[in-house]
Symmetry: C2
Subunit: 188 residues, 2 copies
């Protein structure tokens, strides 16, 4: 139980890890803790119309822990492909340290779950990865491309990076794809 | 799908609802979105040693949505009992509006789930309510009673308000109770 308390106090630090996106209506960058909540919420809702064979509990658990490694490794912008590749070793090490705090019985299954998410091979991991793309796209479409414009991300790249959304919901991807194609604030 | 997008964009506003507790190491108040993440994470971990008959998925879903009514109704400090009672009508109205955005098929079960949490009668709701108490106590014990001291909350009140933690984990409550009893920064 002391281990669990230490882990939960350590998880406080995710509230200080900043991302590239600003919450709508706020002049500050969002942190990875509030993003983790919203992504898990989005998954919960999209799961209502997802195939029955998907393990819902597994998907929500994956998304609750998916960014926790950023406590040690920091957040890497999804469009920065080189940095994303370089970050993996640091993130895997962070996962060992953080889930290791929970001891074998609780920590090892969570470490395995984190790796399953990162590998994006199982249906649950693909669904969870897709959900992780949803909010930044919706936020950018609503804000006039706040984080896309700040990093000069072009329309083709936005379409390429976000098409995995179809793994969670082809219907949502169709809607989002159309809005990306029509967005006047995106450069071609 | 347009409804789901509208709801998810509306959920952004929970990132602007401030609570009484500051994240450890930060000189700002935490918001209800990051609190919702951490509470759901705590539940996920405490569920590892909880009775098998508890519906895990239901508990995580409850905690993901439990604070979303604060978008309209604001956060009310748990120790402010009069304000908590007065807030319920506004929160119930907020729940109707927010879950109503999702239409009948998705919104109605979520509205029912929110009421089940608030009523705290079912084993899942009791467990979820208990988890909602965990983080503010751990945060206060670590920070020297930041939000307790700011509002002159005494030791007996802290013990009374937080004993529901035993509904999620008698072992965690025993540990936390001892620390509350021994905390030199709490007035009797």
């Amino acid at each position: 139980m002391e281990n669990i308390v230490s882990f939960l106090l350590e998880s406080e630090k995710l509230k200080s890890v900043l991302r590239q996106t600003k919450p709508l209506g706020e002049d500050r960058f969002e942190n990875s803790a509030e993003h983790s909540w919203q992504t898990t919420l989005a998954a919960m809702i999209l799961l209502e119309s997802a195939p029955a064979e998907l393990d819902r509990l597994k998907i929500l658990k994956m998304l609750l822990i998916h960014d926790i490694v950023e406590i040690d490794a920091g957040d890497v912008f999804v469009y920065d492909e080189q940095a994303r590749q370089e970050a993996f070793a640091a993130e895997a090490e962070a996962a060992e340290r953080l889930f290791g705090m929970l001891g074998t019985n609780i920590g090892e299954p969570l470490l395995a779950l984190w790796h399953e998410f990162e590998q994006a091979q199982t249906p649950e991991a693909k669904f969870a990865k897709a959900c992780d793309r949803v909010m930044p796209v919706l936020q950018n479409l609503e804000s006039g491309g706040q984080s896309w414009t700040a990093h000069d991300i072009r329309r083709a790249k936005v379409l390429e990076k976000n098409q995995p959304i179809k793994d969670a919901s082809p219907e949502l991807w169709a809607l989002v794809k159309k809005r990306i194609e029509e967005a006047t604030f995106l450069k071609d």
